[in-house]
């Protein structure tokens, strides 16, 4: 850029140190800009932005009801995003958590309907989660094999498999699995009563899955930062060449990464079916896009499973708050997606500023 006789140039310099204070400041700055931007969207929609943001806050964390719902929606996010942390630390871009969740839901529904009646809850519920884990893991392992053996880009394959799984679920509920007790609605029959997950009274919080989500987050944190496997995951992600040099088996590591990441997403699917809906229904009912939202929460939590607990709760609040304004302000359902998009955008830009700092040089000619 040239202004008269003065030459201005901007260069981006890698920051050597990232202090915790700077991290917090960029986070606050990014969210501030994000909400400002969201505010403009509200103005565009003809709504008072202050009022709308207030509604969102009250609907999510500003009321008891809001907290109950935020926690409920947080459960699948906790599970999925802590699994995605593992995948993303290895730079394995799993965009298919949505379908891994659905396959977990499908497999556990099948298991519950097929064998549930004769099983006690003590045995049946853990088995149901296990089968759900297997379903998600299997669905996740396919792109891993395609990537390592045939060089297929995992972003494409995991993304496309989302559609496959969604169509498969739709086929099951209108076709072979359509429930005999559902008056023609496209649902499966309900799971046996004794296999349904208990909720905290007065809420929809299925506490078994909640506890599972928190425990798994902690376990994956330990896995990433305290075990040989976690070390190898991080080496693979940071430098494939160094991983090769260190004798790390890329194929095996990729498989395990996707077993874990897909598996815990599958468990989230079990929670949604056995804790909330009690049967399989349309894919859009089973998951409110949790598999995609979890991508954001994993990044927002800096790919740390414990961090993704916080970011998961935060984003669950945004989902619930979005519902609230949708109802009270009669805004279109897509508003929430705009929200998510804007927030992800500003957070990524914030991350850029955390990693680089601008160096402005002004020279007189």
């Amino acid at each position: 850029m040239q202004l008269g006789t003065v030459q201005v140039s901007v260069q981006w310099e890698v920051r050597k140190k990232q202090t915790p204070l700077l991290s917090v400041l960029t986070l606050i700055g990014a969210l501030g800009i994000g909400f400002l931007w969201v505010g403009f969207v509200f103005v565009f929609l003809g709504v008072d932005p202050v009022f709308a943001l207030q509604k969102i806050f009250i609907g999510s964390f500003g009321s008891l009801y809001g907290w109950k719902e935020s926690l409920t929606k947080g459960i699948p996010l906790f599970l999925i995003s802590s699994g995605l942390c593992v995948a993303y630390q290895a730079k394995f871009w799993n965009i298919g958590a949505e379908s891994q969740l659905l396959m977990g839901a499908v497999c556990s529904t099948w298991f519950g309907l097929q064998f549930g009646a004769s099983l006690s809850p003590i045995l049946g519920i853990p088995l149901m989660f296990f089968v759900g884990f297997l379903g998600g893991a299997l669905w996740g392992v396919i792109p891993a094999i395609l990537k390592v053996r045939f060089g297929m880009n995992e972003v494409i394959s995991t993304l496309m498999m989302n559609y496959v799984a969604a169509e498969f679920v739709s086929y099951l509920i209108v076709g072979p699995w359509k429930g005999s007790t559902k008056y023609g609605y496209p649902y499966t029959d309900d799971l046996p009563k004794h296999l349904l997950l208990g909720t905290i009274p007065g809420t929809r919080i299925h506490y078994v899955t909640l506890v599972l989500g928190i425990v798994i987050s902690m376990a994956l944190f330990i896995l990433l930062y305290r075990t040989k496997f976690g070390y190898e995951v991080r080496v693979v992600g940071e430098s494939p060449e160094a991983a090769k040099y260190a004798g790390i088996d890329f194929f095996r590591t990729s498989l395990w990464i996707m077993i874990i990441s897909g598996g815990v997403a599958g468990m989230a699917g079990v929670g949604e079916v056995a804790g909330i809906h009690h049967h399989l229904s349309y894919p859009g009912n089973i998951s409110a896009g949790y598999g995609f939202t979890a991508i954001i929460t994993a990044w927002l939590g800096k790919l740390n499973p414990l961090g993704s607990l916080l970011s998961g709760l935060f984003f669950a609040g945004i989902l619930v708050g979005g519902d609230a304004i949708q109802i009270s302000l009669r805004l279109p359902a897509a508003t929430v997606h705009i929200f998510n998009g804007i927030l992800l955008f500003v957070l990524l830009i914030g991350n850029f500023f955390l990693n680089y700092r601008p160096v402005v040089q002004i020279r007189r000619r």
Binding site: K16, R226, T227, K228, F229, Y231, E232, R234, V235, E238, S239, E241, A242, K244, Y245, A246, G247, I248, D249
Partner: protein, 509 residues
Amino acid sequence: MAGKNSPKKIQIVQMEQISKYFQGIAANRNIDLTIRGGEILGLLGENGAGKTTLMNILYGLYRPDGGRILIDGEEVAFRSPRDAIRAGIGMVHQHFMLVQNHTVVENIALGDMEVPFFFPQRGMEQKLLQFQELYGLKVPPRAKVWQLSAGEQQRVEIVKALLRGADLLILDEPTSVLTPLESADLFAILRRMASEGHGVVIISHKLEEILDLCHRVVVLRKGEVVGEADTKDITKEELARMMVGRSVVFSFDWKPAPRGEVVLQVEGVTVRSDRGTVAVNQVDLTVHRREIVGIAGVAGNGQRELVEAITGLRKVESGKIQILGKDITNQSARVIHAEGVAHIPEERIRFGTVPNLLIYENAVLKRHHFAPFADVLFLDYEEIKSHAEDIVEHFTVAAPSIRVPMKHLSGGNIQKLIVGREVSAGPALLVASHPTYGLDVGATEYIRKQLLKRREEGEAVLLVSEDLEEILELSDRIAVMFEGRIMGILDRQEATIDQIGLLMGGVRG
């Protein structure tokens, strides 16, 4: 424009007192070079001698920090290759710059300033035929580039340059990717071009092809011109001596020591390169205890692939590799490491470290899998940290703390940490690839001393280096590689620079 439409060709190009510095280090220092039309000039030198830099300056890719360029007596200043092309200079790089999925014609039309905007490839085929008649430059116009052999791709590059009006053609290591037959074809083409009045510059380190093809040769070493001659007046031996120089000082305290049992035995090993060509061809090599074996040679003659085969990073096509009598051919890198092979890799930052992980995490890379740093599942971070502290202390790594990311260390300290990590594993064989490349004097000396210490402690070291001085200072025996073969193995006492220089240039003594 002295382009293809003007019959007048460039008569003379003069580069005067050209200097170029990269971060304070001279790549070219006060170089004078004259290139005449109708002449094939050889630019000879080892890697890093400054040949390519000099030609990149002439082609407008770099701007010189000092000196000037005259074409037919007129001073020129190229801001980019576009200017150089306008002035009639063309360059074919060592790595071809072609779009693999496009046809030959499309590639040639791409970037040509005179083609029409619509249907740029129209009429191109006619022009190609013309070159085929004129110089014997045969290229299949409609074939996709990925279908072509290396020789054909090179011809496409040459045609591309000629079509843009190149009177002076620069070729960077043109035969490095060619088969002998393709090389002969290329030479015939170049001779015809020279007889038509074109100037040709060949960058090469191969003595025989320089003598065979060129009229005149200029030798560069460490950024300076060290010799110039007509090829008919000079012998291979004289050229070799010019190329590698004689300024070798044996400054290290190297004591003769009786060598022990065989540690590494390589028998008839053949390995392919990434491109699928044979990179290592039937190589035999042994390294004993209490011995450093140095592998000399210009880069790209199979040293890297040989090292990768030994350390388990590349598949061995045929042959056998043993460590202490145990067959490790095509074992995984982890198994080979467990058998006692440590490796200081060539690209130390990319392969040897993980820049974003902390120093102590890097201190156990590769050994993270073994006791005492890990049990079945968990890493023992206490043990790892104390090990990292040990390395930092014993190998004088200047680091603020072992808890900072590896990328904060300087090149020399990164290498010291790698050396410390590999040496502390107590390996039977230490493979060191270009261990002091790009390091400052202090770090270089330190690392060379560490290698000698391994030898004195009775262990085996395989040293790969382009730095002849380093090879001669440290090695008990010197193996010279050329085009995937070991041209000869010389004992320290009998090795002379002349001899090594000849072998490096592909001439058996």
